[in-house]
Subunit: 283 residues, 2 copies
């Protein structure tokens, strides 16, 4: 998925790497089986010539990843701040140039701590403070009939995962269940960040959208969804206690174990409507 810049948006390279590579593997019968594996590349992000972070990425949407990383880490305030994003795979580097070169960045970077739990480094304390200011729209609902449409569309989507495994996928969708963008990466958070980057590039407002992830709903996933002002977060996986606590605190509608025509709504169920015909009840 290549970014389609609008007039006035940053100058971008278009440097996607191939998503999969074929290697030789040997199975339990000793037979050689050509097998597709997912790409993984280090990508060092330079912000106004200052080295910031090395991301391990599939490299399929490196420009959007860099922009979304800066967005979600609050190192850029708007897409207008960003003048250029230039990826160079010769040096495994992405150089981002901003209009505000240097301002505040040193201070912000100085405060960074590294979080794990399958996470990138984030300024965790700052993000939690910010979360308390997030107001998600409460005038919208999601029908479970439309949720089932989305689940089915994700299931049928052509994915790198189906070819090679070892990646997580994220989708931004409408409340009608239409997929607007779908990004996969070897890191769960890279996939979310790339979506955040595409949303800025395409001027897409998250406040009436649904965010789907194949990954687990940990604290960072919930924080990033709330930062993008998206009121609906859906996963086919489970969740953690902190993911649950933060979703409750910010009033997010969080749905886990979404598969087929089943789901579990954990928080914010006031936005979820039963619009699908009832399945035959077991009791």
């Amino acid at each position: 998925m290549a970014a389609k810049p609008r007039p006035g948006s940053p100058r971008l390279t278009d440097a996607a790497r191939p998503a999969t590579f074929e290697v030789e593997a040997h199975n339990e019968r000793g037979e050689m089986v050509p097998t597709a594996i997912a790409g993984e590349h280090p990508l060092t992000l330079y912000l106004d010539k200052r080295e910031l972070v090395t991301l391990m990425t599939l490299g399929h949407a490196p420009e959007a990843l860099a922009i979304g990383y800066l967005r979600n880490q609050r190192l850029a305030d708007s897409i207008e701040d960003i003048v250029a994003v230039q990826v160079d795979w010769e040096t495994d580097a992405v150089a981002v140039t901003t209009r505000k070169a240097g301002k505040n960045i040193a201070k912000k970077i100085g405060k960074r701590t590294v979080t794990s739990g399958c996470g990138q480094g984030t300024m965790f304390g700052d993000l939690m403070e910010e979360i308390d200011d997030v107001k998600l729209r409460n005038d919208l609902t999601l029908g479970d009939a439309e949720l089932f449409v989305l689940i089915e569309k994700v299931r049928k989507h052509e994915t790198i995962y189906k070819q090679a495994g070892a990646v997580h996928g994220c989708a931004l969708a409408t409340r009608q269940g239409e997929i607007l963008m779908f990004v996969e990466d070897v890191g769960r958070h890279n996939a979310v960040d790339a979506i955040a980057g595409f949303m800025w590039l395409d001027a897409i407002d998250g406040s009436d959208k649904v965010f789907y992830t194949t990954g687990r709903l940990t604290s960072e996933m919930v924080i990033k969804c709330a930062q993008m002002r998206i009121p609906f977060l859906v996963s086919r996986s489970g969740l953690t206690k902190m993911g649950h606590q933060i979703a409750e605190r910010v009033g997010l509608t969080m749905i886990g174990r979404a598969s087929g025509r089943h789901y579990l709504a954990f928080t914010g169920k006031h936005r979820l409507k039963h619009t699908a015909p009832q399945p035959t009840a077991l009791a």
Copy 2:
């Protein structure tokens, strides 16, 4: 799994948090379903009073996690360096005291970059240099009959994953397929690091062992396995190109897609022996 310190090993707290918590969820029929979810806690690591990192963790083996993190980040050279590891969940902190307080640490921390791809921060460049010095034992083999024993034991293991999902598991095993330790965490790398910590605490040599992970075989997973001098790395998931490249470079025996009586051997197959009776061939 609590660490059992030997004489002369560090003073440890024993501050495991409960692994799961029950919350109320509502299913597609509107029924309330009590659901177990995995714990997730921030744990800020202080090394000789210097704040180093905040890990998001299940909190089930925090002392071993802290030790293994320092081991795998090369911030401690041996278990003898570590005097005390004290976890305090009131402040979400673990304080590690070393004999060499301060030496080299500032320099090492200064060089750190943050990698992602579901990774914690690592000093990536340094680790890659170190990897070239790793010599894995080549006088050992693993029979696939024993591999199938291990796969079956992992399948039957009582896990937090079965209760609550949202965690990754790692096991250290013998080449006979016996599980020596099994650790789960919300972060893949935390689980590996906790195993590395337990190995130091229990003085277990990795050079003739098998490392099993439920997670993907990315670059960081392969690097950590090689750092622990473990020649066999097994996963039920897939792998990435960089994981493959590093495994090849260091001569690791890497097995993916291990499930039931099936597997794919990707690298180092000279150490893998066909000892299991051949399944009925399809061709």
